[in-house]
Symmetry: D2
Subunit: 285 residues, 4 copies
């Protein structure tokens, strides 16, 4: 093969991380009267002193990603999984305590939620609960979130008063379908909380505020959601909301001699609007 030899350039390793993705787990809690089930997927990422592995292939500071995976199962046996946030803390603590070469551990967690049918039977929900626990030797950050919360409202949504330029064809509307798949992640000001209760509360506030808000744009509603979450949950320092505008286009039936009084729509996956913002607690509080 006609390959050039590895060149004599001397590159700088600006940033690097490694770890294990898509580590999956089901943990059963076997109570006398019922089972609880948690299904969780982890991504675990390390940062630290790994330069020699990249530059010379010296693996002496590398904890294999296979061992990282094994550790998840061992700790899942040792600890009750009360919440993904708490369990993330156990993982961070373990990896930092046992790996001096690691400076930062990042645990990204997705919980696939199951609803109870019976004492030991469940159906899987479509929304997901997420968390990111990141730790260094001087501290810990805990974020929580919701993913794939697909919601739609068919009244109380307008879009008017925007810029018109030579390439504008969109019609202003006082009444449209507003559909989105919310991804929310929020950072806690504290690391000791009833994470389950707050998560349920944030989800409910998002649903209720979305339903009630008199929306003038996706941005407008996103802000209302974020503001309400910050108002109701003092332990949340900031929240990032991503709300794609999943368009439902009014179908033009005029070629067939028919009107369409906002009844028949074509939902499309592409293109979609993309709206994202981070809201933080103001200094006034």
């Amino acid at each position: 093969m006609d390959t050039p030899p590895i060149a004599a350039v001397d590159p700088v390793l600006v940033r690097d991380t490694y770890g294990k993705s898509r580590v999956r787990l089901i943990k059963l809690a076997r109570h006398a009267d019922r089972h609880d089930v948690k299904e969780i997927t982890f991504q675990i990422l390390f940062q630290g002193d790994f330069k020699s592995c990249y530059e010379t292939g010296d693996n002496s500071k590398i904890l294999p990603t296979d061992t990282i995976k094994n550790t998840v199962y061992v700790l899942a046996r040792k600890h009750d999984i009360v919440s993904i946030e708490e369990f993330g803390k156990h993982l961070v603590d373990h990896f930092l305590a046992n790996n001096p070469q690691v400076t930062n551990v990042r645990i990204e967690v997705t919980e696939h939620l199951w609803s109870r049918i019976a004492a030991a039977a469940f159906t899987r929900e479509s929304q997901k609960r997420t968390a990111v626990v990141s730790g260094a030797r001087n501290g810990l950050t805990i974020e929580a979130g919701i993913d794939d919360l697909t919601i739609l409202k068919s009244s109380g949504s307008a879009f008017e008063g925007y810029i018109k330029d030579p390439y504008t064809t969109l019609k202003e509307t006082k009444d449209r379908i507003f559909a989105t798949a919310v991804r929310a992640t929020w950072r806690y000001a504290s690391t000791k909380l009833d994470f389950n209760a707050v998560w349920q509360g944030v989800r409910q506030v998002i649903l209720d505020t979305f339903a009630a808000h008199d929306s003038l744009s996706v941005q407008h509603t996103l802000h209302a959601l974020g503001r309400q979450v910050l108002a109701m949950f003092p332990d949340i320092a900031e929240i990032l909301l991503t709300m794609p505008n999943k368009h439902a286009l009014l179908v033009d039936l005029s070629p067939f001699g028919m009107d369409n009084p906002n009844e028949v729509f074509l939902p499309i996956d592409e293109p979609s609007g993309y709206i994202e913002a981070t809201l933080a607690r103001g200094t006034g509080r």
Copy 2:
């Protein structure tokens, strides 16, 4: 380009179909006190006298798939969508009445279900409701179904007493996790029914029977589900159930000096068991 001319072989057109896939629709029903929302995806397929189009490019008998799509929107404006089964019948009737060259129309429908949050706000569910309405000039067949009903039970599931051969490594178990994503489709004996009520009923019977059944295998539980549906709903002539065995493997913690009393599992997407059967009402009824 060095392409051979179309050869002089004289092939027979054994079977052919054409139509439109992934026709998407949202229909709002605007009631005084609330909205109802239906989100539906259609595949519409024709069979008939289309030989000349294939053989000579004569399109004179072809209703374009673009027109098929337009017709869905027109009929959605004309009719309330009480159920996907009823609306499928309207589509079949329309296409057969207006297209003498078409002998069979098949309407495959997937309804993406939305749960109510408020009078005009909704969240999308993970399970889907399906229907197939197929019609010819001498009659109509209506099938209904559920797709992506992901369920799990963590007690009452065993697997023992199977064949052991030289390539067997699986251990017998009296207690395993049983997870599956049910796809069920059933054929109605009648074309006039309260399709919505029956669908809700079948779904509930599947959930309840799954939860309650003392399972000796996936096959055993599949049969119980089908039998119970046939027993409870006399208008269902037969039911096809597909139940992949979505394995959750017990994690071996013995290398780490730990036991694992059926608490920590590794769920896997591949490989999976595949179990499928059709049950029909016996002649005894």
Copy 3:
């Protein structure tokens, strides 16, 4: 739980099958001067005398799907994998020889193709090679196929002369983009062939005929492809071609005072046309 007891209906098991899906394998052939790599995914399905398992949970005739999976790896060690068709035959032979309760074995195979970069390095292709080997004690059927062969032509494609009805809005065109993802499966008249050579040949005929054909519709081109394959490969008895019409819509730039001489298109995934036909060798041969 308030579940009804399993009812006294006596259902008939009309049809049933079980087996293992998504069994994945990489087999390396280590030659002196190079490696060959095959990456294959299997679905293996049994039919036979399994009524007692469904009806009473008696597993005594069930070969576990886990054992089915193990057998794939054992046979992959024992045999060179010359072609997926030949290897499918080994699997059918093994399962029929060792399982008297099994009447039919169906091996569905997808090969993920890798192109060579170097003696032992490869890149993965997007198209897939498929095969279905189905066997009973009285004989064997071998089908082969291509999947995800995404192709596009930007000249030599028209669509005119079709039915116009009150819901027609499509414009006739002499010049459109024709894009499709071909799925082809063909049945061999023989079970002893150079399967690799024929497969490469069919793929080339499909590409060349698609490029050269003066297309009057998708149906017209589909027929030309099938006819040419049957003409060139006498060992192929019939071929099923599925060719979705993946539309590329001409973008209307007239609102901006611009023409669009078939240059700027919007490709869409949904809706899409669906065209499918099976061509068989005529009786004249």
Copy 4:
């Protein structure tokens, strides 16, 4: 509905962006002897002075995402698309010139590559070409990349000498399958380059270096790839490489009395290793 009123908290808008995702385009260049086809998907994101839209629903500074989409098609008609990088520059220039409220424009581009079959016929490749062009009024940054470049080598890959701890079960190996799906993005030091030639060159260097490298770990090979790209292409300032370790596990055939001399493997999608690093040109240049 029992919803709390929007609360009196005064949140700070820390960061916000909006725009359009999944804007798709096919552009044909119709030459006398052949067509060239480009299929591109865009995400276009704005940052700027949009606070009033979020806080009060005042849309007077909002260019609708629908107009952003229209603009892509207009500019695609006006300009030849020589490269996605050049076309990205046209988009940035347009949006900044016409929208004083916008401070930053980010154009994320994915090109779905088509290989030529004939003068006007093509097959779609599996790898993708990417670019990000981000501009503000004081300057422009151009990044390019490759995505979904799935590669595998079956010799010249070892993994030894790593940390062993109580949770280690992985065996050291001098000979394993190394499979990955490379995602590479690199930042150019210049905004005027033959982007097409450099892209083809980088792709070839990645393939050749991957094939030739005597790999002691994924990190080791990632570093070799990045170093070689920086050595060969002086216009590249830094490169980010993401290389998941897509494991192929050696199948244990010992329960069946068979050895497995690195021939039969089980490829798995989950879990996978995750290795990512950014290399920059050292100060020595």
